[in-house]
């Protein structure tokens, strides 16, 4: 069976949980015999490997195809990069400013790589919707040239590509919903995005949701038939020994960590409130907010106005090894997300033996036993859980001991098997 998969990022260039998840799933799928994956990725503009991709003209696109072989794993996947400016997690407005910035800096480069030779849609538009449409056009071409049995598209930016591919090949389309605009926008749904999401889900033969929470959103908010929507939970990549880069702790104080984008969706303000409550009662503890986002400045000034700035630290955006270093000095990890379709980072914290507090409004709460769950707005309960983990040693012992075991048993292979059986269903019907 051949799967034509549309993603939007792939290691090493990962900006968020989606890249991690689609990579993990692909790796999991590669362990299934007789299953081949062609992975198509729009590559962010400015990437140093840009030269490898040559686009000659509409209907005559030369794409760069790489074969990646995973050690110790059975199969291999084909990996196709499509030059694009698509970056996940950005709203259309943000996207526009990003492109403008890029243009100002590297105007020449843009001109040569895009203005000149790109013919298939009359050049890259600055408009995200146009960009998505372009990607869909490329997808059509790829679908035409590459034989496949199933099409699999990850999140809204790739839905039009999936639909376009389906239009050409007539093969079943599986839509994988890692997040909806209801999660990203904190309620202020962008009608354009909603439209694309809804159309994609409607056109799909199967819809995969990363949690029951997301599944309910798909059914209730997008009006999709329940029998079409299946929950397949994410997993987590096993932690290699080489990744255990422990940081020597420079302070005796306990460390409580928030790690994620500092946006409405992630609930950073509840973390600040909980920190303030704990600091009123405890001396030897510090709080760290790792990440950046539109609310960061507001959080910094708020922490200062609460008078806890000496115990409340901001690191900015962390990536790669820095994430694991941060976990290695953390005593508690808190994810107070207001709306989190799944949430892989608590699993990463648990892999690093960090006891974890997550909000009930996260998909991962549906499967985790060894994590404390509170409502994101229940700051008292959250503060209480933080205090408990810091002060009652046996509690964090239980979490370290069983939490790691629990996470280590969440394997992408298992998620991939479920996805594979969905493929089979889709092909048969």
């Amino acid at each position: 069976m051949k799967v034509l998969m549309f993603g939007w990022e792939f290691p090493p260039h990962i900006s968020g949980g989606l890249g991690t998840a689609s990579f993990g799933l692909t790796r999991g799928l590669s362990t299934i015999p007789d299953l081949d994956v062609i992975f198509v990725v729009p590559r962010a503009y400015g990437d140093e490997d840009q030269s490898k991709m040559r686009l000659i003209g509409a209907g005559d696109i030369t794409l760069d195809t790489k074969h990646m072989r995973f050690s110790k794993l059975l199969g291999s996947i084909s990996y196709i990069e499509v030059s694009s400016n698509l970056v996940p997690y950005h709203s259309p407005e943000e996207y526009e400013s990003l492109v403008n910035k890029a243009e100002n800096k590297k105007k020449k480069l843009i001109h040569t790589t895009m203005g000149g030779k790109l013919v298939f849609s009359g050049g890259y538009g600055k408009n995200l919707y146009e960009e998505i449409a372009n990607y869909a056009l490329v997808a059509q071409q790829i679908a035409d040239e590459n034989e496949h049995d199933v099409i699999h598209a990850h999140d809204w930016l790739t839905y039009p590509a999936g639909m376009a591919a389906k239009g050409i090949s007539g093969k079943p389309l599986v839509i994988h919903v890692h997040a909806t605009d209801f999660d990203r926008s904190g309620g202020k749904v962008n009608p354009g995005v909603f439209e694309i999401e809804k159309k994609g889900m409607e056109a799909a033969d199967k819809v995969i949701a990363v949690s029951n929470l997301t599944r309910n959103t798909i059914i209730e908010k997008y009006g999709i038939a329940p029998e079409k929507v299946t929950t397949v939970y994410n997993a987590v990549e096993p932690l290699g020994d080489q990744e255990k880069i422990a940081l020597r702790r420079g302070i005796d104080d306990k460390v409580v960590t928030f790690l994620g984008r500092v946006t409405l969706q992630k609930g950073p303000e509840y973390f600040v409130q909980a920190a303030e409550k704990v600091l009123r009662k405890m001396e030897n503890v510090r709080f760290v907010m790792a990440g950046s986002g539109e609310l960061l400045e507001r959080m910094i000034s708020w922490a200062a106005s609460l008078g806890i700035a000496d115990k409340f630290h901001f690191t900015g955006f962390l990536k790669g090894d820095d994430v694991f270093r941060m976990f290695s000095i953390s005593d508690v990890y808190v994810m107070p997300s207001v709306s989190e379709p799944f949430g892989i980072s608590p699993l990463e914290a648990m892999q690093s033996n960090v006891p974890t507090i997550i909000s009930n409004q996260s998909g991962v709460a549906e499967i985790l036993k060894y994590a404390i769950k509170t409502d994101f707005w229940d700051v008292d309960a959250m503060a209480d859980a933080i205090y408990g983990l810091l002060n009652y040693p046996s509690l964090s012992e239980v979490f370290k001991k069983y939490g790691k075991e629990e996470v280590d048993n969440m394997k992408w292979e298992n998620s991939a098997k479920k996805v594979f059986s969905l493929y089979k269903d889709a092909v048969l019907t």
């Binding site: 009662k281 503060a383 209480d384 859980a385 408990g388 009652y392 040693p393 046996s394 509690l395 239980v398």
Partner: protein, 496 residues
């Protein structure tokens, strides 16, 4: 003789309110009165009251042939006093029939037997007294919290004066043996042990309304047939269960009350079984063998061990931290502290912290105020932290404790001296009065007073006190003053 021994357990804990860490040191009230009252009222209406009414009626109808036994935890009795005196009255009515035996257990339905034999004994004695006070009966059969039992616990129970004890007929303990005989303790053979027939007990308590059970529906006739079908040599069928089985675990709609009502009739009609109280079973049957239980067992879960209460690290930490405070709680002799200490020991708190519910859910979640074991643990530890602050304040520990212990001794001795001084005063007065009236001095009292003072401990503070009081209060005779204050000059002399 073949007999059925029915025994029901009655217990409700004082549940804690949501106690946040910022309450520690600020608020010393730990209980959720609203929840406790509403749960107790609910269970009373659905279970205790209708079941007691039915049993009373059955006892009078069967004229001495139908007998039952209860153990009502001290905490349950306290809650009945607070929220459901009508339940207490109905138990009293049952007690007055003479067909109902009340068993002794730990006052707080605690796990003290696993930790502290003094506390265990104390709670058993307190409970015994409470049962006597409320039901007018002296319990002489013992059942431990959740039927927890081991050879050693049994031996300890014998030392407390009990001759019979109840426990679980756990499969891993009995092996091929049947629970349907009278056994004895392996260390102390004079303690008779009644074992629960868990198959037949759980058929009623757990499976009665289970429609996917192959024997559903269970009728009294069917149950009597099963009893009849047991090997003829087997002598007693011990049916032990939670009293809430009737009306709460199994709702009235399931027909559980009808089953109970019909049971003795079906038994008398179809079989030769009688009904006995645990005391009667112990008196009438011969011990067939000793039962060896080196490791503690209970009636809980598939494992029949203590893992539901003391299985994980959290439970062990909470349990150990609580009992670390025991000595100082008693030393404080503070009524409130003693009371809270009792309520903190209730086994339910530890049960709520069990991580076993992930696999063995249903029963564990019953009336559990917490949605996860972690919440239960954090809440308990917050309460315990506050409790510890209070204990520390009342009886400091460690170095502070040593200082306070010494200053307490000094304080006590000061008090003794002050008391004796008063005595001296009194005696002097009466002496001078006697002198005034009789015209002759009486040596005796003065001498005694001096002796008394001399027995008071030496010490600067004590001396000063004595001096001051003596100076200010003793106006005459001067001779006595110098004697009582001049300890350094030798106390021996004053004795002569």
């Amino acid at each position: 003789m073949r007999t059925i021994c029915l025994y029901f357990q009655v217990h409700q804990p004082f549940r804690f309110r949501t106690y946040r860490f910022f309450d520690i040191g600020n608020d010393h009230y730990y209980y959720d009165d609203y929840t406790n009252e509403s749960i107790l009222r609910k269970v009373a209406e659905k279970s205790y009251l209708p079941a007691n009414r039915l049993l009373l009626e059955m006892i009078s109808r069967h004229k001495g042939k139908f007998k039952i036994a209860f153990s009502v935890s001290g905490i349950a009795i306290e809650q009945f006093k607070l929220y459901a005196p009508d339940v207490l009255d109905s138990f009293r009515a049952l007690a007055e029939t003479g067909q109902v035996e009340f068993l002794a257990e730990t006052y707080a339905h605690s796990l003290a037997s696993m930790k502290d034999s003094d506390e265990f004994t104390k709670q058993v004695m307190d409970h015994k007294a409470l049962v006597k006070e409320h039901f007018g009966l002296e319990p002489n059969v013992f059942r431990n919290t959740e039927l927890i039992y081991s050879d050693e616990i049994g031996a300890a129970v014998y030392k407390m004066g009990f001759r019979t004890m109840l426990t679980e007929g756990a499969k891993h303990v009995l092996g091929w043996k049947s629970p349907n005989y009278l056994y004895c303790n392996a260390i102390e053979p004079r303690l008779k042990v009644l074992l629960k027939n868990f198959k037949l007990s759980d058929d009623i308590a757990f499976r009665f309304s289970n429609k996917s059970w192959s024997d559903y529906p269970l009728t009294a006739e069917k149950f009597a047939d099963w009893l009849k079908a047991l090997p003829a040599a087997e002598e007693t069928v011990n049916l032990f269960m939670d009293y809430e089985t009737f009306g709460e675990h199994q709702w009235a709609e399931t027909g559980i009350f009808e089953f109970l009502k019909a049971l003795p009739e079906a038994v008398f009609k179809k079989t030769k079984y009688t009904f006995s109280t645990p005391s009667e079973v112990a008196k009438n049957l011969q011990v067939v063998s000793a039962v060896h239980v080196p490791n503690p067992i209970s009636w809980a879960d598939e494992e029949r061990d203590l893992s539901a209460w003391l299985g994980n690290e959290m439970q062990k930490e909470a349990f150990n931290k609580l009992y670390e405070l025991k000595d100082r709680v008693y030393e404080s002799n503070d009524r409130e502290l003693l009371l809270d200490f009792k309520y903190l020991q209730v086994s339910d708190h530890f049960y709520y912290m069990s991580t076993k519910f992930f696999s063995d859910g249903e029963v564990h979640s019953y009336f559990n105020p917490y949605s996860t074991p972690y919440e239960a643990f954090i809440n308990y530890m917050n309460v315990l932290s506050d409790f510890k602050i209070r204990v520390d304040a009342a009886v400091p520990s460690g170095k502070d404790g040593e200082i306070s212990r010494l200053s307490k001794i000094i304080r006590e001795k000061d008090e003794t001296i002050a008391k004796y001084d008063k005595e001296i005063q009194r005696l002097k007065k009466s002496a001078s009065h006697a002198k005034a009236t009789a015209g002759r001095p009486r040596k005796g009292p003065v001498k005694t007073a001096a002796t008394m003072t001399a027995t008071a401990p030496a010490g600067t503070k004590a001396n000063t006190t004595t001096k001051t009081t003596s100076r200010t209060t003793a106006k005459h005779p001067a001779k006595t003053t110098s004697k009582s204050s001049g300890k350094k000059t030798g106390t021996g002399r004053s004795k002569k």
